[in-house]
Symmetry: C2
Subunit: 344 residues, 2 copies
């Protein structure tokens, strides 16, 4: 699949995915409309007064990976639409709850669900979206996907739900700790970020008719690119060009975000103790150059970029196992390459 074919693929399937998701949120009972309305608000379909709104829908990266994996395995992406919708709904359920848990008042330049409707309704709206993600999976059976495949998809999906909550648990625990290791961090993002991307690919491939080995290869590919996605984020959060990222220089330093480069440097024998001093209180913008110098001394950027390449390579090998000779021509390969080069 060339870059042009990928664009055409997205042009065809993104609107169908949105339609599948909208139908899942349809509500015929007037008293419940505001309940589904809160979820529609989070997804960018309504404003805070619950009037229709059409915001840019976002990339819908995870569900598009699911549909692509289905196509690459030789299946019809139509069969994977309910699963793709489920994956995006699950992702968004976790965002609604993360925003409550982190106390974040804005997301994508809009007030978060809890900031508009309060914490109790936001928790429950998230629970509702969690339930809807399972409900739309029921549609697989309705459109004639083999029952054994449906059960396999449900098994993958359920495991992923649990991994998400495990990852979130670790993330919250780590915030309260000063001595998190890079291994612990990689374990955490493996649950919180990589598991769902792995599941998106595995589920798409399974529905597309891939063998169990291929499904596993695509999951590993997904997990690897999920990790590279997060680590690239970590690198950009410190060294990204503010003109490209739209965030302040050294943004993650000011937020004391325990990302991979910082954790690596905090564990460095010499730079580590100095860095710790800077992080007792929230650092000021004037501290950023000193912190950057300590990160350099620890070799934090080189380490993170090395991990990025290592994981990318692992992913590409898994993809080659899964797709054989077609791997290099695959849109999935192109997407993985693109992630390495992104600057925002």
């Amino acid at each position: 699949m060339t870059k042009e074919t990928l664009q055409a693929f997205i042009g065809t399937w993104l609107p169908r995915l949105e339609e599948e998701m909208r139908r899942t949120l349809d509500c015929s009972e007037p008293a419940l409309e505001p309940f589904y309305g809160m979820m529609g608000y989070h997804l960018g379909w309504r404003n805070a007064a619950l009037e229709p709104e059409r915001l840019p829908a976002g990339k819908r990266l995870r569900p598009m990976l699911c549909l692509l994996a289905c196509a690459e395995a030789g299946g019809d992406p139509f069969d994977a639409l309910p699963a793709a919708a489920a994956i995006e709904l699950l992702h968004n359920f976790s965002l609604i709850h993360d925003d409550v848990e982190d106390g974040d008042e804005t997301r994508r330049h809009r007030a978060t669900v809890w900031a508009v409707w309060g914490v109790p309704q936001a928790i429950n709206a998230g629970d509702g979206m969690f339930a809807l993600s399972f409900r739309v999976l029921q549609r697989l059976r309705g459109i004639g996907v083999d029952e054994r495949v449906v059960l396999d998809v449900l098994a993958h999906f359920t495991t992923t739900c649990l991994e998400l909550t495990e990852g979130q648990y670790l993330d919250m625990r780590f915030e309260a700790r000063d001595d998190v290791t890079v291994e612990e961090y990689l374990r955490m993002i493996s649950g919180k970020t990589a598991a769902l991307i792995g599941a998106a690919l595995a589920i798409g491939a399974r529905i597309g008719g891939a063998s169990l080995e291929q499904v596993e290869d695509l999951r590993q590919f997904g997990r690897s690119i999920g990790l590279t996605f997060q680590i690239q984020d970590d690198i950009l959060g410190i060294w990204g060009d503010p003109a490209m990222t739209g965030k302040a220089a050294g943004n993650d330093i000011l937020r004391r975000k325990k990302s991979l480069p910082l954790l690596y440097a905090l564990n460095h024998p010499h730079a580590g103790p100095h860095l710790h001093e800077f992080f007792v209180e929230p650092p000021s913008p004037q501290d950023v150059p000193d912190v950057m110098a300590l990160l350099d001394e620890a070799g934090a950027r080189a380490y993170a970029e090395g991990e990025l390449l290592r994981l990318h390579e692992e992913g590409v090998i898994a993809l080659a196992r899964g797709l054989g000779d077609n791997a290099r021509q695959s849109a999935l390969y192109g997407l993985a390459e693109g992630m390495l080069q992104r600057e925002a």
Copy 2:
């Protein structure tokens, strides 16, 4: 099934249910132990220091109904154990989140999960238990339940998850309103309380080999007794004997709880406006006799007891349709009768 056989049934299956639930929460990764530990605390298996504790396990009403329905349909309750565990875990997930949403600091004389570990961890622990309820359902396939049955069970279960969140949404909305009707209230408890009891029976019956009609009859029976269960609670909350309920006389009046008798009276042409005056501020214990007199004037108790009997009758009819001549001998019939007579 006589009362003695029912006791024997519970004696046999309650420990197996606990075992099934415990196995579902088993954790082999040390870093995640406290995550599953919070859930174990909520279930009464650990104290707040996460050390093992053995509290009375509770009645586990919903899962026992599931196992009973399986047996009454002619099946082996063993096959329904994972589903029964899923139902109890789903119920407990909703309790963990309800406690956060309502700000309740104690449950069953212990601090709630959020009161011990904070709101963010409690939200996430609830999400984890939600995911575990789906995970244990996967075991149905492992023990050899027919794949079509497993998919039907998952469909029932998923619909119920959604109904729970819809009911909770309505409950929270109603708290902010002064003009809730009894119809709206019955709709709300139908989602929040009755749906899960209906699902417990429907799912047990389906696994036990019941026909689709029987499954539907048992669901209706379950919904009806779920509603009577809640309405009996409402009656006891106002007129219950403090020596039996362990709560203050007129407890729900002091809490301004919008239960069925109160809503009925608030909508009464004469008593209603007077009652509203008492509820502008939280009433004091001295107000209770006056409020009681207004409830009497409106005929609120007679109305609620009438609804109780009407719903009970509906339930018994559905049960008779489902079980035929065996209905009156069924332990399910006895349980429904017992609910009418309970005083705590």
